[in-house]
């Protein structure tokens, strides 16, 4: 069964692709059937992934299976389409198919009655196909192709409710911001192609190891890094992700929390042989990740929109993963990616359940006391938040601990402290959200409060499953199970750190501390938040407005891009076109001037003839004289 599955593993990305084509071309008039085939295809993919995962775990050995065919081939350039199945891929296949499956089931409830129901499932399938193609890629070319296609699916789904101007703008912003990152990524790929003559990961790995031109290698790595910075929304290209919350909430859960935004981290892990080849590049990666982690966590503390809080939390956690990569802890970063996928998807779907019950209310100040009305949503949400806050024995604890451990044991004290600070902030903002939205007095506006009720089973069952995963997923990387995750997903030569009690206890304590702080401020109201805001009004405004980075970018685009555009157009009209018209006018004017010589008078023509004869004779004479001399 395992063997058969492995040989047919290409079915996993191919089935959703066919479903996308089928819905797009024929089935869009039948929403029920569209949803059904979409869910069936992803469920089959999930089954195949599970078989592969179990087979690999049973086999006990890291797997390596590769198939491919040339997709674009000419002498000197080959881009393959293929599948590379190893521990890393299997983990990603499992995460993507599981979360996608749960989100698609959940969407049956959340998107019920939406006029675009069939298109929604078409886009979901497109996303699944592209994401699965991405994680299975065995070369940079294929990676780039699917990298852009997940971007397309993201664009379509952010802008799904395209009648809203905000959704339209958010979709555009996401695509263009990612394009900036992809510009660097593409240049990086071009460099790889001309330096090494191949894009295949397996062939590149030994070549990179032997490559000696460090300066060039650092350049190439940093260019490649631009891709993950865009896709995983790292500073300074993070601006698109909070706005991407305009999409339907299940989309945010799947694409903008669990899977697509993690693709950048995945790319670093997949091509770790090149990213880790130079310490200079690693340093940059760690700094970008660490900075984003702290920066986004700070913003999350000040936001009121439930989805935006989660979005900034995602930014922050992605920063955590990227930082781990930069510290050389590829396994820890991937482990955190895995656990984060489950609990963050859970949190988003929980938020979706709240938003669904409250008829699209997203401001946590207008919630409160939801625990009494929506027990399943509340308690699964709390489990997700505890996991995110890193409370043992939930999933987030183990993975966060691994990252902190590698910072601590690797001697990166600065990053270790930063990690702890972010962990504190994470616990704090999550429980700020929970105490405000789920407990205490109800602040629902108008008639909403009375009719708030728990969401239907299609929505709560996925929540329960994800809550379960958020509890147990950490065990596969925990010391007491022998850390099978680290056995299957690791990079040759990566240093493994033995678990340290001090680190584990500190990280757990810091999470608890964050929760207590949030409890004191938001549940017991021991500190007036209004007073704090007043005291620190300058800082607060700066953070609340996301450090004005969006505004700075907008200003930059308006002045430089649109300004240059207008200047170029001016040049086009007033210089280049003017010259063209001028040459036509001169020709015309010359014609007009010469026209006066043709006045129709025989006498005038006789004069011309005479003049011509004189000139010609003179010329002949002079020429003759010249020759004779």
């Amino acid at each position: 069964m395992f063997e058969w599955t492995l040989q047919h593993i290409w079915l996993i990305p191919l089935m959703p692709l066919l479903v996308f084509a089928l819905i797009g071309l024929f089935l869009h008039k039948w929403p029920g059937i569209s949803a059904a085939i979409s869910i069936i295809s992803i469920a089959t993919g999930l089954a195949l992934s599970v078989v592969t995962l179990i087979g690999m775990l049973k086999g006990g050995q890291p797997l390596h299976y590769e198939i491919s065919f040339p997709w674009l081939k000419m002498p000197g350039l080959t881009v393959e389409m293929g599948l590379l199945v190893d521990g890393l891929t299997v983990v990603m296949l499992f995460i993507v198919t599981l979360v996608a499956f749960l989100v698609q089931v959940y969407s049956l409830g959340y998107m019920e009655g939406d006029p675009g129901f069939a298109s929604y499932y078409a886009y979901q399938s497109l996303f699944a196909a592209a994401m699965l193609g991405l994680v299975a890629a065995n070369n940079f070319g294929q990676m780039f192709v699917f990298w852009e296609l997940v971007g397309l699916a993201s664009y379509l789904l952010i802008g799904f409710w395209f009648g809203k101007n905000s959704a339209r703008e958010a979709a555009k912003k996401a695509f263009i911001t990612n394009r900036v990152g992809d510009f660097g990524f593409l240049l990086g790929i071009l460099f790889v192609q001309i330096i090494f003559g191949t894009l295949n990961f397996g062939e590149l790995s030994p070549q990179v190891a032997d490559y000696t031109n460090t300066a060039l290698l650092v350049t190439v790595t940093l260019l490649l890094l631009a891709g993950p910075v865009g896709k995983s929304a790292q500073f300074p290209l993070h601006v698109w992700l909070p706005d991407a919350m305009e999409g339907p909430t299940p989309v945010s859960a799947l694409i903008h929390a669990a899977t697509m935004v993690a693709a950048g981290v995945y790319l670093i892990a997949r091509a770790f042989f090149i990213f880790s080849a130079t310490p200079e590049a690693m340093q940059v990666i760690a700094f970008i990740g660490g900075f984003t982690a702290l920066f986004a966590a700070l913003i999350a503390v000040t936001q009121y929109d439930i989805k935006r809080i989660l979005a900034y939390s995602t930014l922050s956690q992605l920063g955590y993963m990227v930082m781990a990569m930069g510290l050389g802890a590829m396994t820890a970063g991937m482990f955190h990616l895995t656990t984060h996928a489950f609990f963050k998807a859970l949190l988003f779907l929980g938020a979706g359940s709240v938003i669904y019950a409250l008829h699209h209310e997203q401001d946590i100040r207008n919630m409160g006391g939801l625990s009494r009305k929506m027990p399943v949503t509340t308690w699964t949400f709390v489990i997700g938040a505890l996991a995110l806050a890193g409370i043992p024995p939930l999933a987030g604890f183990w993975s966060k601990d691994e990252i902190l451990l590698s910072a601590y044991a690797g001697g990166y004290t600065g990053f270790y402290v930063l990690g702890l600070l972010v962990a504190f902030l994470t616990a704090f903002y999550m429980f700020r959200l929970i105490f405000t939205a789920f407990f205490g007095e109800s602040h629902a506006r108008g008639h909403h409060h009375a009719e708030v009720k728990e969401s239907p089973l299609v929505m709560t069952i996925p929540l329960i499953i994800l809550a379960l995963m958020s509890v147990v997923a950490g065990f596969i990387g925990a010391p007491f199970t022998g850390n099978p995750f680290g056995h299957f997903v690791h990079y040759a030569g990566e240093t493994h750190h033995e678990p340290e009690m001090v680190v584990a206890v500190t990280s757990a304590l810091i999470g608890v501390l964050g929760i207590i702080a949030a409890y004191l401020v938001y549940a017991r109201k021991m500190v007036s938040t209004a007073r704090v805001k007043e005291r620190l009004s300058g800082v607060y405004t700066l953070v609340y407005n996301k450090f004005y980075i969006d505004e700075i970018y907008l200003w930059f685009i308006k002045i430089f891009v649109d300004g240059t555009a207008r200047l170029m157009f001016w040049i086009d009209i007033n210089i280049i076109n003017r010259l063209v018209d001028l040459s036509a006018e001169i020709t015309g004017a010359l014609g007009k001037a010469l026209r006066y010589t043709e006045d129709g008078q025989v006498q005038t023509y006789a004069y011309y003839m005479l003049g011509g004869i004189i000139i010609l004779s003179a010329a002949v004479l002079l020429a003759g004289l010249g020759i004779m001399r």
Binding site: K73, E148, G163, R179, D182, F183, L187, F569, V580
Partner: protein
């Protein structure tokens, strides 16, 4: 055994159609349109047949036909196709077929319109399948006249009048072709002086050794001539005005294929006959090409009229083709040919949709629209396919062209390629801005009367959309045959450097 002259047949069907239309009574508008459609379909099928049955193992010029025309001058009616010309032929017939359907709303003087359109299609096809310089030039000139009449009679006046647009287009291209003619005559005379045998046969001319100075001179002439046709910076200004003024079908054919005669000519005549000249002039082309890519992309950002956006964007995209040609290696030229195909189907689709929308709404200003996807979901899908292709999204054929050009050119010109790659950001910016403003956002009630694409209006979308997507997800189908052609052409010109490594 007399072989069926497949290429001549392909060429002849539209001409027969044009003749039939001329004898049809003027009021039978419907029959005229169906005749035009029926005349372009066989050409499309034949070119698909050629594409499929071309022997990829044997390579070289196939489906060869030759009839001596004026032996004293060495001119013969010689046809033949290799991988490059098949691609361009396929592009022509795909667009020609679609252009007829995109013109189904033309009712004024339909008889003249469709017969001229068919002549135009045949003329363009001829340039791609002939292997004789003289015949090439003849077909090229055949094309110019119908275009002029079509623009000034059926065009539309916005920023500039259609008469201005038609005149600018025609005069500009005639000046370009004057340079070309000078180049061709020089070649003819030079080869006659070298061997004493008059010939305009491309393959024969390619075997001769011209001195480097002569090659530079003639290649420079051709760069101006073909460059003008390909809207090379700064000789592009006919293009946006011309497309804006032209009727839908002419914009489609002009931006889609006619322009590509420039790129095709530079490769087939320029590189093939004058490799040493090409090597000297190429860096100049590469630098000018940056003017195309970035300068025109920036202008697009400031445009509001849909036709001007696509017009300037085609100038921008031709920059990629020029860089591909200028890098002079196998990969980059493969990319340039692929890009010409990709840009052709994409631009034609864009113009078909713009024409359709304009006829229904009488405006092309993007700010007049908003939320059109509510009323016209199919049109919106078409615009999205064309737009995403234009910004080089993988899964669309244009990406294959761009990526291949970038890889090929990067080994030759580092800085220029980096600048060119940055074009992908600006293209995304103007395309998504324009399409976002026009298609998405709140429903506007003033456009509730617009009907979505239906019936024959779907033909351009289906035909060109299929080409864009199939070419994008199965690129090897087209790239293998292009590579075959480029490989042989460069090997014969002794220009074969692989590039990329």
């Amino acid at each position: 055994m007399a072989k069926i002259p497949v290429l001549t047949l392909t060429l002849l069907f539209p001409i027969i159609g044009a003749i039939l239309i001329m004898v049809l009574p003027r009021e039978r508008v419907k029959e005229i349109k169906y005749t035009a459609a029926a005349a372009t379909l066989p050409s499309l099928l034949l070119s698909l047949f050629i594409f499929i049955t071309y022997d990829r193992k044997a390579g070289g010029m196939q489906f060869v036909e030759r009839i001596n025309w004026t032996p004293d001058l060495g001119v013969s009616y010689a046809l033949g196709v290799d991988g490059i010309s098949i691609t361009m032929l396929l592009l022509t017939t795909l667009i020609g077929f679609s252009a007829v359907f995109a013109s189904f709303r033309v009712n004024e003087q339909a008889k003249e319109f469709f017969s001229l359109l068919l002549l135009l299609i045949s003329g363009v096809m001829g340039t791609f399948i002939t292997t004789d310089l003289f015949i090439f030039f003849l077909f090229y000139e055949v094309v110019v006249i119908p275009i002029y009449i079509l623009v000034i009679m059926w065009g539309s006046s916005k920023r500039v009048t259609k008469e201005y647009a038609g005149m600018k287009l025609t005069i500009y291209l005639l000046i370009g072709s004057a340079f070309l003619l000078l180049g061709i005559i020089s070649l003819y005379v030079k080869s006659y002086l070298l061997t004493g045998k008059p010939s305009t046969d491309l393959m024969y001319l390619a075997t001769l050794d011209y001195d480097v100075g002569f090659q530079i001179f003639v290649f420079a002439l051709m760069t101006i001539g073909f460059g003008t046709l390909l809207s090379m910076f700064p000789f592009y200004s006919w293009s946006p005005d011309g497309y804006a003024g032209a009727p839908t079908a002419v914009s489609m054919i002009h931006a889609g294929v006619l322009k590509k005669i420039g790129g095709y000519g530079l490769i087939r005549i320029g590189l093939y006959l004058l490799p040493a000249g090409a090597q000297v002039i190429a860096p100049v082309i590469a630098i000018l090409a940056i003017g195309n890519v970035l300068y025109a992309a920036f202008i697009c950002i400031s445009q509001k009229d849909l036709k001007y956006i696509v017009g300037y964007s085609s100038v921008s995209h031709m920059g990629y083709v020029l860089i591909g040609i200028a890098a002079l290696n196998l990969i980059s030229i493969n990319g340039a040919v692929m890009m010409m195909f990709g840009h052709g189907v994409m631009a034609a689709l864009f113009f078909a949709l713009i024409g359709n929308l304009y006829e229904k709404s009488h405006t092309r200003n993007i700010d007049d629209f908003g939320g059109l996807a509510h009323q016209m979901p199919r049109l919106a899908t078409g615009f999205m396919i064309a737009g995403l292709a234009s910004l080089g999204l993988p899964g669309m054929v244009n990406f294959i062209g761009e990526f291949t050009i970038f890889v090929g050119a990067f080994s030759q010109y580092k800085v220029i390629t980096v600048l060119a790659v940055s074009g992908v950001i600006f293209t995304a910016l103007y395309i998504l801005r324009a399409l976002g403003t026009m298609l998405f956002g709140p429903r506007q009630e003033k456009w509730d009367g617009l009907t979505d694409l239906k019936g024959v209006e779907m033909v351009p979308l289906v035909v060109l959309g299929t080409a864009i997507i199939l070419g994008g997800i199965l690129p090897f189908g087209l790239m293998d045959i292009i590579n075959q052609g480029t490989l042989e052409l460069l090997a014969q010109a002794k220009l074969l450097t692989i590039g990329g490594i």
